[in-house]
């Protein structure tokens, strides 16, 4: 199911393994003491509607560029050692992985801050769009919280 963990920024159709991504990040330094990860998954309910499926589309190259900018800024501003960001596109079933952010640092505090900042920033600046399939049909989600 999982693909190569070589690149720290990836947008891909395939699922990923959280364990594999964490192990890949551990190789960056022997001085990692804290690893915070955020994993976004497909929820069944959205604004009271039952979701049957999600579908993500992205603007190729621009989306990857924005994720790399987020990674660089997280390392620079939050004193973490490194970060990886993976976002899936295409069809996503309920319960499936959508997005993963892994922040590794010497201590836990900065990895929490960096990880929480990065997912908020991803939602704000990355050209990725979600389409929800409900019993009423398909709709592009337009809200960015």
């Amino acid at each position: 199911m999982s693909t190569t963990t070589d690149s720290k920024i990836r947008i891909q159709l395939e699922n990923f393994s959280v364990t594999d991504e964490i192990e890949a990040m551990k190789k960056v330094s022997r001085n990692i003491g804290g690893i915070t990860t955020f994993l976004g998954t497909g929820r069944e309910l959205s604004k009271g509607q039952n979701i049957a499926q999600l579908n993500f589309e992205h603007y190729p190259k621009m989306a990857e560029k924005k994720l790399e900018e987020i990674r660089q800024q997280a390392i620079k501003d939050h004193s973490i050692i490194d970060m990886s960001i993976i976002h899936r596109i295409g069809p996503i079933e309920i319960g499936e992985n959508i997005v993963l952010i892994v922040a590794v640092g010497e201590h836990r505090k900065e990895t929490f801050t960096a990880c929480e900042w990065a997912i908020a920033e991803l939602k704000r600046v990355t050209p990725i769009w979600k389409r929800e399939t409900t019993t009423h049909g398909e709709v592009w989600v337009q809200d960015t919280p």
Binding site: K61, W129, K130
Partner: protein
């Protein structure tokens, strides 16, 4: 020639994903929306109403950004990635 891209909900409105527009050296964002309006009036309205974001060569742009021959312009509805 500039390349114009439409994403997500805008594909249905523009009734296309991409178009090529022939230009002389450079045009303003207003001139570009006039050209797009001719084939898709609804898309032109959306651009003029500032309801969407625009990128030029994959960097965020605004109404004052000048578009040059060879540029890639994209119309981007509000993002909703991240879960």
């Amino acid at each position: 020639m500039i390349t114009v891209k439409f994403f997500a909900s805008l594909k249905a409105i523009a009734e296309k994903e991409e178009e090529q527009i022939e230009v002389q050296s450079s045009i303003s964002m207003d001139q570009l929306s006039d050209i797009i309006s001719k084939t898709s009036p609804k898309m032109g309205d959306i651009i003029r109403d500032n309801k969407i974001m625009i990128s030029v060569n994959q960097e965020m742009a605004d109404a004052d950004t000048v578009i040059h021959d060879g540029d890639e312009v994209a119309f981007l509805p509000p993002f909703s990635g991240g879960s």
